[in-house]
Amino acid sequence: MKKIINDPSTVVTESLRGLAAAHGDILKVRTEPAVVYRADAPASGKVAIVSGGGSGHEPMHGGFVGLGMLDAACPGAVFTSPTPDQVQAAIEHVNGGAGVLLVVKNYTGDVLNFETAAEFAAAEGLDVRTVVIDDDVAVKDSLYTAGRRGVGGTALLEKIVGGAAEGGYSLDECEALARRVIGSVRSMGVALTACTVPHIGEPSFVLEDDEIEIGIGIHGEPGRRRVPHQPAEQLVQTLLEPILDDLPFSSGDRVLLFTNSMGGTPLVELYLAHGIAERLLADRGITVERRLVGPYVTSLEMQGMSLTVLKVDDEMLRWWDAPVRTAALRWGA
């Protein structure tokens, strides 16, 4: 394993130190327990948006902390949900008196740890709500599974609800908007290569030279099926079709298209794929109103990509367009 690290057990802490050094104007970091929070927290009178999850998906979530997006992020060990202490510390730190919305990706570990923290916070009389995002259509959503995973849609959700919170939405309004976004967003991913978790030291799974894994999650867990590698045109279709069929999206819909790199895919390939996705959507009569292209919800160095499609309305677009100033997303500020 060749990684730019000193010791697998200190990767997250050391990386947070670098994040803090790089973006001192935007965020601050505390350790034990680890929390990334807005430099100007708490924002008094504003609903606080808190998220988090395992590390290794950078820039999510620490890179989304700042004006117009998250008030705090709780980074767990690599690919491991954070602990309730972290979430509690985050809540305490950023609570500005207008309530706290926890944005949780649907993984058993994330849900349980955030739930525990929310119980503690509620016991202290804080108004804490939780929304769980589960946008990954690769996973069967049934009573007999852990349900869909939260993947790329999380970035869009955090931007939109973060914008609304900054714009003065109440906790009720933030929660309602978040639920609408969750109901309107779907994703699907593919891995060309596996990633290597530092404390494991070997790739999470093994793909042959001509094999790709469809329906990959963001934790190095294997996907739904292995297929031979295919041209980009076909690959983008393979990802897009289950997304469109699921919601479903149909002609006349207005969408935000998010073409996400799993981390190790060159931008030249990602834009190529994005161009194909745009064309396929246009062919179906779907209007792409906004787009995001880049490595935002990653799996360490994994090569691969995901597509996320969000059916937007004017309210969502308004908060998507609203100023944001974070390490990873920045406009209008």
Binding site: G54, S81, P82, T108, G109, L112, H199, I200, S204, E221
Partner: protein
């Protein structure tokens, strides 16, 4: 082993050793059907537990409460809250009782199982730690008339068998459920770690 707080502390020390020794095995199991962190998560948790054991408390319940909160705040993932809840419920059940008895151990194990199920909503057959803990509680209950050591041995044996029995199952809870049919043919890491912990406790009690 004594059945007082010191005995429980000693049992936890050997549990920590077992976790350390089986870290790679648990990582490998979790890599196959999960995300590969289970062994590392538990190792991190039990290393933290070790550092808290010296002044953990005067009763078995007090010690287990420290274990619970330490695991909750250091393990993360699904296993953190689940094992944390298990130890917390067991601690609550033991209350301030100064010494474990066979029947209090049975009750504590049952409370732990109830806690895990309450948090994780898994049923037997979902391919989770519940598949190890459920038969463990039943076996412990059958052995309730004997000693603490006998109860724990029965529980550990049953948990080991329960863990083995997860191999053919298709996961319906936790990260392995994303794999669908492909999760069959692998032992559930959480069931395995449950069996390992109970074995460590049983060995310490013998």
């Amino acid at each position: 082993m004594s059945c007082d707080a010191a005995g429980v502390v000693a049992a936890l020390r050997s549990a920590a050793e077992v976790v350390e020794a089986h870290r790679d095995e648990l990582v490998t199991l979790d890599r196959e059907i999960g995300d590969g962190d289970h062994g590392e998560n538990l190792k991190r948790g039990f290393t933290a537990v070790l550092s808290k054991l010296d002044n953990a408390g005067d009763t078995p319940g007090a010690v287990l409460k420290v274990v619970a909160s330490t695991l909750i705040s250091t393990v993360g993932g699904a296993a953190g809250p689940l094992y944390g809840t298990a130890f917390l419920r067991a601690a609550a059940k033991l209350g301030t009782e100064p010494e474990l008895t066979a029947s209090s151990v049975v009750d504590a194990l049952a409370a732990a199982l109830e806690g895990v199920v309450a948090r994780g909503k898994a049923e037997v057959g979902d391919k989770t730690m519940v598949d190890a803990l459920t038969p463990a509680v039943a076996a412990a209950r059958d052995a309730a008339g004997s000693s603490v050591a006998e109860v724990l041995r029965a529980a550990a044996d049953a948990a080991g068998k329960g863990a083995e029995d997860t191999v053919p199952l298709v996961a319906r809870k936790g990260r392995a459920s994303y794999l669908g049919e492909r999760s069959a043919g692998h032992m559930d890491p959480g069931a395995r770690s449950t069996a390992l912990l109970l074995r460590a406790f049983a060995d310490a009690a013998s």
